[in-house]
Amino acid sequence: MSYIVDYYEFWIFVWLVLTGYVAGTYNERRHYRSIRRREKELKDVLAFAVRTLPAGRPYESARLVTGSAVISVDYFKSILAALRKVIGGRVDAYESLVERARREAILRMKAHAAEEGADMIFNVKLETTRVFQGERSAAQSVESLAYGTAVKSA
């Protein structure tokens, strides 16, 4: 019993890692399912990286649409990434995080466009920023911002 009390910092750490793994894995799977479902739902809103409409294509209106998402890393992943940092290599733990943030941002941008009645978005750009949580940079989040010009076809 005294062992648990004396090394409570260690047990808190263990608990955080376990919770991070279980909850993080569950949340990630759920998020991916939601992303795939909504990507199908919004497949009629088209996103293009090209800067301009095809010449001569008629449109009714054009306006800026944005979508942004902030996704946090879980404790388990932050430990894994910190360990990876020592020896280098692909940080698998963060790759899915960034991917989810980007896809979510694009989805929200498309949702924004759909609300405006637009069916195409041109000049789509993506930005990714990390968001610090507190001074200890252990647990971080990434923000992805997607924006572009939404066009309502005539």
Binding site: L80, I87, E95
Partner: protein, 288 residues
């Protein structure tokens, strides 16, 4: 749709149809095996840290004996102050000092080395040596020990730790370990306390070799003073019985760092037999 085709369609005023296909999965994502990664990376990291700390500890162990004994003295005197606050019976203290001097006389200590024994009041059935030749004996130990010979064994064991600079060695290692671990992990984290918070904890856990060396030396001292080694095992039996389950970490434990009681007694019996030292003989009663 090719550029040419599109251009032609545009000229005709017919626009191509577009679609966004569902992005393929798994291209932008790493191999999804976090548990395996954690096991490999975590295991390797722990092994590396352990290797570094062990190396650092050994280094400190090697360097520490080069510290002159005189430098230890002020440190050690400061450390025993907290126990000196509750001294045990004065007459018994004098008796302990006399016994200590008799033992030290036959133990071939370097000239510069002096042993200071402190008889203190405490519930712990124990005695320990610390820096500067300071030996602390709790009165609970004297109350439990059957004879002077048993007590002499304990004292000689602690004197041997002083003689071979065991305490300063372990502390030298311990202090280096805690310096390095605090540099690695920050001040008072879990790792720091594991690695021997402040160098104290580590210092009090002497290695098996050091304990055995002190045992042998103490046995020889017992022989030199009494002409036989009877009573040498009293302390082991006492602590082996559970008398040693003291109030924990804060107080150093004579027996804490294994050799287990049984093998420890047998090893000393073997030494006595090999050297022809009698294991029976009249024990001197305690004179507290």
């Amino acid at each position: 749709m090719g550029v040419e085709t599109e251009r032609r369609s545009l000229k005709k005023g017919v626009f191509p149809t577009y679609e966004n296909r569902q992005p393929p999965e798994g291209i932008n994502r790493g191999r999804d095996r976090p548990l395996r990664d954690m096991a490999v990376l975590g295991g390797a990291t722990l092994a590396l840290i352990a290797a570094v700390l062990i190396g650092v500890y050994q280094f400190g162990n090697l360097l520490a004996p080069l510290v002159p004994f005189a430098w230890e003295k002020p440190l050690g005197d400061g450390m025993v102050k907290q126990w000196a606050k509750s001294p045990g019976n004065a007459e018994t203290g004098q008796y302990l000092r006399t016994l200590t001097n008799r033992l030290a006389a036959v133990m071939d200590l370097p000239d510069s080395m002096t042993i200071t024994v402190h008889y203190v009041h405490g519930e712990t059935v124990n005695a320990f040596a610390t820096l500067g030749g300071n030996v602390v004996v709790f009165d609970a130990l004297l109350n439990k020990l059957p004879s002077e010979n048993g007590l002499a064994m304990v004292l000689a064991h602690e004197i041997a730790h002083v003689k071979y600079r065991h305490v300063v060695r372990a502390m030298g290692g311990g202090i280096l370990v805690s310096l390095v671990s605090s540099a690695l992990f920050g001040d008072t984290g879990f790792a720091g306390s594991l690695a021997g918070g402040g160098g104290m904890l580590t210092a009090l856990h002497l290695s098996r070799e050091k304990e055995e060396q002190a045992d042998s030396e103490a046995l020889a001292a017992l022989m030199a003073v009494y002409g036989h080694v009877n009573g040498f095992d009293e302390i082991f039996r006492l602590l082996g019985d559970g008398g040693g389950k003291s109030g924990a970490r804060s107080v150093p434990v004579f027996l804490s760092s294994h050799p287990l009681t049984g093998p420890r007694i047998r090893r000393l019996q073997r030494i006595a037999r090999d050297r022809g030292w009698p294991v029976d003989g009249e024990v001197t009663p305690l004179d507290p």
